[in-house]
Assembly symmetry: C2
Homo-oligomer: 171 residues x 2
C-alpha cells in the first residue's frame, strides 16, 4: 500500500523471489479533498478493509513515510499510513515498512529512479500490457514486489518453497 | 485527546461556556515503545474505544499536529491522531482540531504559556485538588476546555442552554 489521503495505492502480488510474480489486483482508494479529515480516514479504512476482505494477504507492505516532502502532505500521508497499519495489524497480518528508495532500488536497481522507470519495471516484472495508472497504483505494486524480494523470512509461501527445495536436495 | 504513540492523553469535561466546568474523567492510553508500530496503533485504538464506550462524548477535540517539533515525534503524533480521528468519526461524533497555542491561549490567556501554567489553570478551572499528571492528561483536559469555550455551535448542551436563555428573555 502506498498511503495517501487523496489516493491510497493498493497492489496485490503473489509469488516468491526468483520466480515470475503475478499481479492479483491493483487499485486506488480515493477520498475527496473537500471532506473533513475524520471522514477521509474513515473512507480509507473502509476501502482498505474491502481490499483485505477480498484478497486476505499473508503480509502487508506499507511505504515508510519520510518528511523530506512538504509538511502538509507528510502529515496526511502519515495519517493515511496509520490507517493502513491499523487495518492490517488488527487482523494479525504482519506489516512491513519499506522506504521509497528501497522500493525503487529493488525494482529498478537505483534508489533514485523516477516514476516512469518504476512503472516500466513493474509492467515488465508482472508481465502487464501497460504501466498501471495512476502512479500510486504502480508504486503499490512496486512495494509489494520489493517486499517479496526483500523479506523472504516473512513470506510463508517462500518458506514452503525453500523447505520443499531443501527437502528435495536432502532426499 | 492529546495524541501520542507513547502516551495519548484523554480528558472528559462536561459543561458550557460561562458556567463552571466539571471533569468527568482523565487518563492516558499508553503503548510500549518497543512494540511494532502496527501493534501500538491497535492498542491506541482499543484504549480510545474504551474511553468512547464509557463516556459517549457528544464531541471530540484532538490536538492539531504541527511539524515544528522533531520529525520522528511528529510522525508518531500524526499517526496516533489519525487513530483518534478515525475512532470518533467512525461513530459519527463531530471532531474538532485545535492547535497547541489555541489551547494555551484559551486556558491561560497566552499562546506561549508553559506546561506548569496550563496545569495550574486546568486545576483551577475544573476545581481539582492537584494538577493532573502526566502533562498529557492535563493537556487533554485543557483541549476539552478550549473546545467548550471556542466552539459553542458544536456543543448541543450549550445550544440548549442558549435556547433556554433566549426563550427566558423573550418570554
Amino acid at each position: 500500500m502506498d498511503p495517501g489521503l487523496t489516493r491510497c495505492g493498493v497492489g496485490v502480488v503473489e509469488g516468491v523471489a526468483g520466480r515470475p510474480l503475478t499481479m492479483i489486483g491493483v487499485g486506488v482508494v480515493r477520498t475527496p479533498a473537500d471532506a473533513d479529515l475524520g471522514s477521509r480516514l474513515v473512507a480509507i479504512e473502509q476501502g482498505i478493509e474491502q481490499w483485505l476482505d477480498e484478497h486476505r494477504p499473508e503480509c502487508v507492505a506499507v511505504e515508510r513515510v519520510f518528511s523530506q516532502h512538504n509538511v502538509r502532505t507528510v502529515m496526511g500521508t502519515a495519517q493515511a499510513s496509520a490507517v493502513a497499519l491499523l487495518c492490517a495489524s488488527r487482523r494479525g497480518i504482519p506489516v512491513a515498512l519499506h522506504t521509497p528508495s528501497e522500493v525503487k532500488a529493488a525494482v529498478t536497481g537505483s534508489g533514485r529512479a523516477d516514476k516512469a522507470q518504476v512503472g516500466a519495471m513493474v509492467t515488465r516484472l508482472l508481465r502487464l500490457g501497460a504501466p498501471p495508472k495512476p502512479a500510486d497504483a504502480a508504486d503499490a505494486l512496486a512495494l509489494a514486489i520489493c517486499h517479496i524480494w526483500r523479506a523472504p523470512a516473512q513470506n510463508r509461501l517462500q518458506q514452503a518453497v525453500a523447505l520443499h527445495t531443501s527437502k528435495g536436495r536432502t532426499a
